[in-house]
Amino acid sequence: MEKEQPRWAEVFKIAMPLCLSYIPIGLACGILLNAAGFNPLLTALVSMLVFSGGAQFMIASMLTTSAPMHTILVMLFFLELRYALLGSSLSQYVRGTSKKFLYFFAVSLNDENYAVNYLKFATDKEWTPKDALMVEHYSLLFWTLANLIGSLIGNVIKIDLAIVDYALTALFLYMIVMQIKNKLTILTSLISAILAIVSMAVLKSTMGLVVATLIASLIGFAIEDTLVKKGHTKGFWLKRIKPKASRKVISR
């Protein structure tokens, strides 16, 4: 028998890999926000209230190119729209909770704690909405602290921002890799890449991202639907790809 641990410590252990990985990204984000003219207090505030790596990097880079506020907000809306999908896929697990709980849960939901919580809900029967909220709050704490420290570092030393900016791309690449389940996901990704180039070049704006996402995801969905109906669930496209390493890094 293992020693009985308090629940907060057990949940913290599960959230730990996520919290640690927020440190480099949070530092990078804090540095960029500082360069965009946010003082450390505002950087901490935006980390707590918006709590989204993608959104904060985007605010920083759009402020440095002095984009008007409404343009920033429209872009943010499209970027944050993906949380609608994450939220609806988690909703089945937070049934029967109060409106107040959902409010708090939604405020600090983001890509990474979603990944941890979704996996825990799907595999661990003991996992409660309260645990999930705790994971969100741990990650929020680490994210905010890392941003704050990044903001302070940015004041002191000079760093090449184009390089720091790449942290976000690396983060998205990681999330793509974690999404790869079969060859059809890879195909969908390639379709999205081509559509993104074409639609951004045509629309001359980041609206192209939304167009590419919608069309590529619908194509992926349509192909899977067709394959399943034909009974090709174990075929070339849908056969599961097993990761080389164990999944324990994020799943435990």
Partner: protein, 111 residues
């Protein structure tokens, strides 16, 4: 922009970020999600993240033109990140090695 404007931007950003997170969670926690919707949603994150990566690596974001293989440092760093992510499945390692790789590669290749 002034600090006051930044503060207003943060508050508005919070609202913009909150809507998409809260509304579907609220609706679908009392109603059944249609099966097709879930099946479709599976392909949304991978599509969006790919589009965002492509924007950074293959597009000039000032005038939205395709730059091909101009940003060689980012392209090579991305290959490294994918390999590390695939092997380690760790977000922290992927980002740290990605930053180191792009910093080193930027010395010899255009960023």
């Amino acid at each position: 922009m002034t600090t006051t404007n930044h503060f207003i931007l943060i508050i508005l950003s919070m609202l913009v970020a909150f809507g998409p997170r809260f509304i579907p969670l609220r609706i679908f926690s009392t109603r059944e999600i249609p099966q097709w919707f879930n099946e479709w949603m599976k392909y949304v994150p991978v599509s969006l993240f790919t589009a965002l990566v492509v924007k950074d690596v293959f597009m000039n974001t000032k005038n939205y033109t395709f730059v091909g293989f101009d940003y060689m440092a980012k392209i090579l760093a991305s290959v490294i990140v994918v390999a590390i992510a695939y092997r380690s499945r760790s977000m922290g390692l992927s980002v740290v090695f990605g930053l180191v790789a792009v910093a080193l590669l930027a010395m010899t290749f255009p960023l």
